[in-house]
């Protein structure tokens, strides 16, 4: 007879614990399924390579491949529903039929979460792009999940409101995608995270039920706050179809400066000084190391500073102010700049001040263009991590040294190791630019980077999420009890494992 106890006696010292990747047993989309989809959707909302009227493969490419062209799905079918009801009908059908689904927004995610692992059905929210309501007294905006961030910004501008979120991908990413990735971005320092600004959500659950929590209340303490679960869950618990969010009064005056620093050690003292002097009008404090600045300029992102201003600079800081009174703000900023320039031991070499909105935009273009510049330079390995502020440069340098010692800092392998990020939020973007994505480089970087981050008690994903890229590394930032409960929650919402399979959870 088989002795259970003898089995349990085998040593279980497998550290660090690796979670076996469990991809659920799922079915592919068939012609039979398409017959059903055709009943509920117009022809223009269905793109499929299945017979009888197959579209060319190329039409599916933008949906199957991610923004970095690093992750490649093999989906045969994309559906673009226009209403919550349509989403619900599709999801219910797929749940009954055990068909995997990938919810897709603007497909700008950076961890491979928005493309299929295999041939899951893609549900694109692109056709759900209407503003449902806006209240210009409270500033509460209710919109379809497929609204593009930029168009919501444009919508709010004439009402003198701004969206509490802004990021480099604003021209393509959707509010549903932002909520699902809990995107941080460039305004977090000022307006806080989406966990605070999102007031309500409408979500289609994996069995097709519509969870309507689209309230517009700032205060609502009535038990479990379920919507929080969907913020940052990367589409693994349901499909967000509507978002209610608190927008902020538009600042009446904005200014920015780019400061050139002789050494990284000055960033933190500078941050303290800038916070002290600018206080409530400080709205961004972004760190850019010299190498990535040079890449941005090389790839034409924004107008470069003059040579005089960049000479001897080890890094740059972009400071933005937003306030209600131009004269007051400018006075504050000017006295800050004066004190910085005239200090006995200056923290900065020099800097430039934008004197027109065109220059204001141009300075931001340098910062916002970093992601794009890095992608133009080569194949980026992107690690978006939280580490203590004083360790920013150390992490970049140690990683570069590690790659050098592995003999990978060379042509044909890694070209650059660069860092930039939201100092105000403790968030560093460590980017390793290689000539190609190769197992060799990947093996040198992982788990090296994750272990480094764990050593500083940091987070392996400050903003971009886990997606498929980091499932195996989740344990560096979440302990076994946490992962266990995350799995239980997933099981509860999605017992068949149809929604975004293979993502987030190991």
């Amino acid at each position: 007879m088989f002795l259970v106890r003898s089995v349990s006696r085998t040593p279980v010292l497998r550290a660090p614990r690796r979670w076996a990747h469990s991809f659920p047993q799922l079915n592919s989309v068939t012609e039979h399924d398409l017959d059903y989809f055709r009943k509920i959707l117009p022809p223009s909302a269905i793109i499929t390579t299945l017979p009888p009227n197959p579209s060319p493969e190329s039409e599916l490419e933008p949906f199957n491949n991610d923004w970095m062209n690093k992750y490649h799905g093999k989906s045969t079918t994309v559906l673009k529903p226009r209403t919550t009801k349509e989403v619900s009908d599709i999801v219910k059908w797929c749940n009954d039929r055990h068909i995997g689904i990938v919810p897709q927004g603007g497909n700008t995610g950076l961890v491979g979460g928005s493309v299929p692992v295999k041939d899951e059905l893609i549900i694109s929210l692109a056709n759900m792009s209407k503003v449902r309501s806006f209240d210009d007294v409270s500033g509460i905006l209710v919109a379809d999940a497929g609204c593009i961030l930029q168009s919501l910004s444009d919508y709010l501008a004439p009402h003198n409101y701004v969206f509490p979120l802004d990021l480099g991908a604003k021209g393509s990413c959707q509010i549903g995608g932002n909520v699902s990735t809990n995107a941080g971005g460039l305004r977090l320092l000022r307006y806080g995270s989406l966990h605070g600004t999102v007031l309500g959500l409408e979500v289609v659950l994996p069995d097709g039920t519509v969870l309507d929590q689209l309230t517009s209340l700032r205060k609502d303490n009535t038990g479990y706050d379920l919507k929080q679960l969907f913020i940052g869950s990367e589409g693994t618990l349901g499909i967000v179809t509507g978002v209610s969010i608190l927008t902020a009064p538009a600042p009446q005056a904005t200014n920015n400066v780019m400061l050139a620093l002789p050494k990284f050690e000055n960033v933190l003292p500078l941050f303290k000084e800038v916070k002290r002097q600018l206080s409530e009008i400080l709205s961004a404090f972004e760190f850019i190391d010299r190498r990535v600045y040079d890449l941005a300029i090389k790839h034409g992102q924004g107008r470069a500073l003059d040579a005089e201003e960049t000479e001897g600079a080890e890094c740059f800081v972009l400071v933005e102010t937003s306030g209600g009174n131009r004269e007051h703000d400018e006075q504050k900023l000017n006295s800050l700049l004066e004190s910085l320039m005239e200090a006995d031991e200056p923290l900065i070499n020099t800097g430039v001040l934008a004197t027109s909105p065109a220059q204001f935009a141009s300075l931001w273009a340098i910062r916002e263009g970093l992601t794009e510049a890095v992608s133009k330079e080569g194949k980026p390995y992107k690690y978006d991590i939280s580490v203590p502020l004083q360790k920013f440069q150390e992490v970049v340098d140690i990683t570069r040294e590690h790659l050098r010692s592995e003999g990978l800092m060379r042509e044909g392998a890694v070209r650059h190791v660069v860092g930039y990020g939201h100092v105000g939020d403790g968030n560093l973007h460590l980017n390793v630019v290689a000539d190609a994505y190769t197992p060799e480089v990947e093996a040198a970087l992982e788990p090296f980077v994750y272990e480094l981050v764990a050593k500083y008690n940091g987070s392996i994903s400050a903003e971009h999420g886990i997606g498929v890229m980091k499932t195996h590394a989740l344990h560096y930032s979440k302990n076994a009890v946490s992962i266990d409960w995350m799995k239980k929650i997933k099981q509860l919402f999605d017992p068949n494992g149809i929604i975004n399979p293979g993502k987030v959870l190991p």
Partner: protein, 270 residues
């Protein structure tokens, strides 16, 4: 015969404070003007003019003796002068008009500039005026030409490249014309107006902003210059451009054809 001693170049750059080009213009309810309570900055063409003057100095070094900027406008125009000084101009002149006064017209401005140039004669004179080809608020595009006429000077408008030979007292200016580029040679003194492609203006650097605070700005009134800036034109009505009607999506080619027919578009008979 020995060549005459080389005269050094004195440059004058007129600048104007305008509603920033990125601001969405709103017409006032009385339809006589626009909402001016918005972000202002230096007229972009003037910014290019200042940049060009500073670049001329970078190229010609000591041959450029002075770069003066002048503005004719309300008290807040002083900010625009400071910006120009921070970009590298040496000194400013502010011909101040009251906040409530109507905006001066090109002829008035050109006469004020002529008076400024006359005043500068005793300080070495002006050899080169570089100015925007137009201001983006009134789009008049006349001041440079009128000034050259009043002074009886050469003019090179819509410049995309300027090469000055100080010793020979001439300048070669490349102009953007309809068919392409035209290069003209002019004798100094000269009025040049700038086109967009002449250069890309620099950011104001912090050390230069600090220095600019200490640079002199001379304040004058129109009566100091003996000029009358009263407008000769009356604005009857200001209206917004017609609203763009958004496009629509169609589901099929048939629907597209039907929509085109609806809109009165018919196929061309072969």
């Amino acid at each position: 015969m020995r060549p005459s001693a080389v005269r050094l170049l004195n440059i004058l750059v007129p600048v104007k404070r305008t509603v920033d080009y990125a601001v969405k213009i709103r017409v006032n309810p009385d339809q006589k003007g626009i909402d001016l309570n918005v972000k202002h900055s230096m007229n972009p063409f003037d910014e290019i003019a200042v940049e060009e003057a500073v670049r001329l100095r970078e190229r010609l070094k000591d041959e450029v003796k002075s770069i003066k900027v002048v503005t004719i406008g309300p008290p807040k125009s002083a900010e625009t002068l400071r910006t120009a000084l921070a970009m590298g101009a040496d000194a400013g002149i502010h011909v101040e008009v009251p906040e409530s006064a109507p905006a001066p017209e090109p002829l008035g401005v050109a006469k004020a500039l002529r008076a400024i140039i006359e005043r500068e004669k005793e300080k070495g004179g002006i050899d080169l005026v570089i100015m925007g080809k137009q201001a983006i608020d009134d789009d008049a595009g006349q001041t440079g030409q009128i000034l050259a006429g009043l002074m009886d000077w050469a003019q090179a408008t819509f410049a995309s490249k300027i090469v000055v030979d100080v010793a020979k007292k001439e300048a070669n200016v490349t102009r953007e014309v309809d068919g392409g580029l035209e290069e003209v040679r002019c004798r100094l003194p000269l009025v040049v107006t700038t086109d967009l492609r002449l250069n890309e203006p620099r950011y104001a650097s912090l050390p230069n902003i600090m220095k600019a605070k200490k640079k002199p700005i001379e304040k004058l009134t129109p009566s100091d210059l003996n000029v009358d800036l009263t407008p000769r034109l009356e604005t009857l009505k200001v209206t917004e451009p017609p609203k763009r009607v958004g496009g629509g999506k169609v589901e099929s080619v048939d629907e597209l054809i039907a929509k085109l027919k609806e809109a009165g578009i018919t196929p061309v008979k072969a």
